[in-house]
C-alpha cells in the first residue's frame, strides 16, 4: 500500500468532486503532474479507474487458483487416506474408487477457491479496518453516496501541503482539505 503508515502525523490532501468524470480527469492530471502515491474513492466501482492509477494487480486470480488446487488435493487426498487408514471391503469393490471420490473433491475445490478469493481480497485490502484517517472528515461520508474523492498521500515524493493544495484546486473540485493524522479511537 502507498498509504501513510497509521502512525504518520499527516495523511494527505483530499479533493472532492461532484462528478465521476471530474475524478477520472483529476486522477489523470495528477499522474501527469508526477504524483505517484494517489488514491481515488468512489461510491461504485468505475471501470478503468484502477488502470489510471497504474494499479494492475493479478494476485487474486492466482490465489483463487491456488485455493482451488488446495481444495482438490485436500478433498481427494482426504478420501484416499481415510480409506487406506480404515479399509472397508464391501463386496470386493475397489478401495480407492475415483468416480465416487470426485464429487467431494470438486465441492472442496469450489469451497477453497472461493475462500481464497474472498479471504485474499479482504487481506490485500487490509480489511476489516474500522478506523481510518479519512473517516474523520465530515465530507468523506459522501464517498458512499454520490461524491468522488482524490487523495494525494503525504508519502508522495512531490507532496508539499501548499503546492499540492494549489494543484488540486486547479482540478475544479468542490473542496480541498488537509487530512490530518489518525487519532486513536476513544
Amino acid at each position: 500500500m502507498d498509504e501513510p503508515a497509521p502512525g504518520a502525523s499527516l495523511f494527505g490532501m483530499l479533493a472532492e468532486f461532484d462528478r465521476a468524470e471530474r475524478l477520472l480527469d483529476g486522477v489523470k492530471q495528477a499522474r501527469e503532474a508526477g504524483f505517484r502515491r494517489v488514491d481515488a474513492y468512489s461510491p461504485f466501482p468505475i471501470e478503468g479507474l484502477a488502470d489510471l492509477l497504474d494499479f494492475n494487480e493479478s494476485y487474486l486470480p492466482w490465489l483463487t487458483f491456488a485455493g482451488g488446487l488446495t481444495g482438490a488435493v485436500a478433498g481427494f487426498g482426504l478420501q484416499v487416506l481415510t480409506n487406506l487408514d480404515f479399509p472397508l471391503d464391501i463386496g470386493n469393490r475397489p478401495l480407492i474408487s475415483t468416480p465416487a471420490f470426485l464429487l467431494i473433491a470438486i465441492e472442496l475445490t469450489f469451497l477453497f477457491a472461493v475462500l481464497f478469493a474472498i479471504g485474499g481480497m479482504l487481506a490485500l485490502n487490509h480489511l476489516p479496518r474500522l478506523h481510518h484517517p479519512l473517516f474523520d472528515l465530515e465530507a468523506f461520508h459522501l464517498a458512499s453516496l454520490d461524491k468522488f474523492f482524490l487523495v494525494v498521500f503525504s508519502t508522495d515524493r512531490r507532496f508539499d501541503a501548499a503546492a499540492t493544495r494549489h494543484f488540486l484546486e486547479t482540478l475544479r473540485p468542490v473542496r480541498v482539505e488537509l487530512v490530518g493524522h489518525a487519532e486513536e479511537p476513544e
Binding site: 500500500m1 465521476a20 468524470e21 480527469d25 489523470k28 492530471q29 488514491d39 481515488a40 474513492y41 468512489s42 461510491p43 461504485f44 466501482p45 468505475i46 471501470e47 478503468g48 479507474l49 484502477a50 488502470d51 494499479f55 494487480e57 487474486l60 486470480p61 483463487t64 482451488g68 478433498g75 482426504l78 478420501q79 481415510t82 480409506n83 480404515f86 474408487s97 465416487a100 471420490f101 464429487l103 467431494i104 465441492e107 472442496l108 469450489f110 469451497l111 477457491a113 472461493v114 475462500l115 478469493a117 474472498i118 481480497m121 490485500l124 485490502n125 480489511l127 476489516p128 479496518r129 474500522l130 481510518h132 473517516f135 461520508h141 459522501l142 464517498a143 458512499s144 453516496l145 454520490d146
Partner: protein, 452 residues
C-alpha cells in the same frame, strides 16, 4: 434499469431510496404484523422439532420402504429454490445483464435462507441429530471415518460448501451498501451495527478493483457449483437401485427444476417487495417481464425433463420402470403426478403474453402455482418410487403425519422470520451496482474522458 438512467435521478436519490428503508423502515405496522405471523410459525417449528427430538422420527409417517418422506422432499424443494438466487446473481453478472442489479440482493438472501432451511431437514431426519458431526471427517476415538462413497456424505459436503459460498458471495456483495448505510446512520446503535458489518469499507479504487476481481471469480465458481450441488442431490436418488430413479436425465432435470421453482419464488418475492416497500421505480414491469421469461424458459426445460423421464421408461422397456410409470399416472398417488403437471405447466402458458408477464398479481399467482407444483413433483418422485419396492411383501403406503406438516409450516416460519429481518434491517437492493449501471449507461467510461 434503463428506466432509472433515463429519468434523470441522481446517485444520491437511488441510495437514499434503498438505504433509508433499512434505517427508517416505512411501514412498521405492516412489518410487525407479518413478523408476528412469522414468529408464530417459528414457534410451531420449535415445538415440532422438540416433539421430534423427544420421540424420534417415529412421530413422522416414515416407514420402511418409505424412509424419506416429507423431510427429504422438502429438503430438495428448499435447496432447489435457493439455486435461482445464485443463478440470477452470478450468471447474470457474468453475462453483464444490468437489470439483475434490482433483483440480485434479495434473490441471494432468499438463497441463503432457503439453503439454511433445506440443510436443517437431513439433520433432523438423522434420528439422532446431535450426532450430526459424525458425518464430518475428524480423528475420533472410534477410529473410523465417514463413508465417502455414500451420497449422505456427499450431501454433507455439497450443502456445507453451497451454504458457505452463498453466505460469502452475498456478504461481499452487500459490504459497499452496508458502508453507505453506515454513513447515513444517525443513531449510535445503527452506526455501530452497520459500521462493524461494513468492515471499514471506504470505496478506494484499489479496493474496488480487488473487490471486482474476487466478486467475479466467486461468480464464475458459483455457477458450476449450483449445477454440481443439485446434480449431487439427483445422485442421492440415482445411487439407489430403485425403479423410477435411474433415468440419466436426472441431473439436468433436477438442476432445471430447481431453477424453475426458484425463479417462481423470486418472482413472488419481487412482486411483494416492490409493492410493500414502494420500490416500483427500481423493480419495474421490465424486471417482472424478464423474470417471467426466465420462469417460462426454465419451466419448458423442466417439462422436457418430465417427457424424457417417461420416454426413458418406455424406451428402456424395463418392467419395473414401466410398472412405476403406470403407477405414477394411475396409482394411488396419481393425484400428485397430475397436480404437479397441472400446477407447473398449465398456468405457466399464460406467460407467453406480455400483458400477463408485467401484471404483478398474475405473475405472483403463477409463481405460487409453480412452487406448489414443484413441491408436489418432489413428493411424487420420492414416494411413488419408494412405496413399491421389488418385493410385494415390503410394499407400504406412506401418509405424512401431523408433525411432518407442522415441521413444514414451521420451516416456512424460519424462512419468513429470517427474510423479514433481512428486509427490515439490510439494504434489499444493490444500490451501488445500480449506480454503477447508471454511470455506464450514461456513457461513463474511464477511457472516454476528455480533457477540458
Amino acid at each position: 434499469m434503463t428506466d432509472i438512467a433515463r429519468d434523470g435521478r441522481g446517485y444520491a436519490e437511488v441510495t437514499r431510496e434503498i438505504v433509508d428503508i433499512a434505517l427508517d423502515y416505512p411501514d412498521r405496522r405492516g412489518w410487525w404484523l407479518c413478523f408476528l405471523g412469522a414468529l408464530c410459525l417459528l414457534l410451531l417449528f420449535l415445538v415440532a422439532v422438540g416433539v421430534l427430538l423427544w420421540n424420534g422420527v417415529g412421530v413422522w409417517g416414515n416407514n420402511i420402504p418409505v424412509g424419506w418422506g416429507l423431510a427429504i422432499s422438502n429438503y430438495i424443494w428448499f435447496l432447489g429454490i435457493g439455486h435461482a438466487g445464485t443463478l440470477i446473481s452470478a450468471l447474470l453478472l457474468l453475462l453483464q445483464q444490468h437489470w439483475r442489479n434490482s433483483l440480485n440482493r434479495f434473490a441471494e438472501a432468499m438463497t441463503l435462507f432457503a439453503v439454511l432451511c433445506g440443510g436443517l431437514y437431513p439433520l433432523l431426519h438423522l434420528g439422532r441429530p446431535w450426532l450430526f458431526y459424525w458425518m464430518a471427517p475428524y480423528p475420533n476415538t472410534m477410529g473410523i471415518w465417514p463413508q465417502f462413497k455414500s451420497p449422505l456424505t456427499w450431501d454433507f459436503f455439497a450443502v456445507l460448501t453451497y451454504l458457505t459460498v452463498s453466505i460469502l458471495f452475498w456478504y461481499i456483495g452487500i459490504i459497499p451498501d452496508l458502508a453507505a448505510t453506515r454513513d447515513r446512520a444517525t443513531t449510535r446503535r445503527q452506526q455501530v451495527f452497520y459500521g462493524i458489518s461494513a468492515l471499514g469499507w471506504r470505496g478506494s479504487a484499489r479496493h474496488w478493483e480487488r473487490w471486482r476481481q474476487s466478486y467475479r471469480l466467486t461468480a464464475v465458481l458459483a455457477v458450476p457449483l449450483v449445477v454440481s450441488v443439485h446434480s449431487e442431490i439427483s445422485l442421492l436418488f440415482a445411487a439407489g437401485p430403485i425403479p423410477g430413479w435411474t433415468s440419466t436425465v436426472f441431473p439436468p432435470y433436477f438442476v432445471l427444476g430447481a431453477a424453475f421453482s426458484g425463479f417462481a419464488v423470486v418472482s413472488m418475492i419481487a412482486v411483494v417487495l416492490r409493492h410493500a416497500l414502494r420500490l416500483q421505480d427500481l423493480v419495474t414491469p421490465h424486471h417482472l417481464d424478464l423474470l417471467a421469461k426466465l420462469l417460462l424458459t426454465t419451466g419448458l426445460m423442466t417439462a422436457y425433463g418430465y417427457w424424457a423421464e417417461v420416454f426413458d421408461a418406455l424406451y428402456g422397456g424395463n418392467q419395473l420402470d414401466l410398472d412405476t410409470l403406470a403407477d405414477r399416472v394411475s396409482g394411488i398417488y396419481a393425484w400428485s403426478y397430475w397436480l404437479a403437471i397441472a400446477a407447473n405447466f398449465l398456468p405457466l402458458q399464460l406467460l407467453w403474453w406480455r400483458g400477463v408477464r408485467v401484471q404483478p398479481l398474475l405473475l405472483f399467482l403463477i409463481g405460487l402455482s409453480v412452487s406448489i407444483g414443484m413441491w408436489l413433483e418432489r413428493f411424487m418422485l420420492l414416494v411413488t418410487s419408494l412405496y413399491r419396492d421389488y418385493l410385494v411383501s415390503s410394499w407400504h403406503e406412506y401418509q405424512p403425519s401431523f408433525w411432518e406438516w407442522a415441521l413444514f409450516a414451521g420451516m416456512l416460519g424460519v424462512f419468513l422470520t429470517l427474510f423479514l429481518l433481512f428486509v427490515r434491517f439490510l439494504p434489499v437492493i444493490s444500490a451501488f451496482e445500480l449506480k454503477e449501471a447508471m454511470f455506464e449507461e450514461r456513457g461513463g467510461k474511464a477511457q472516454a474522458v476528455s480533457h477540458g
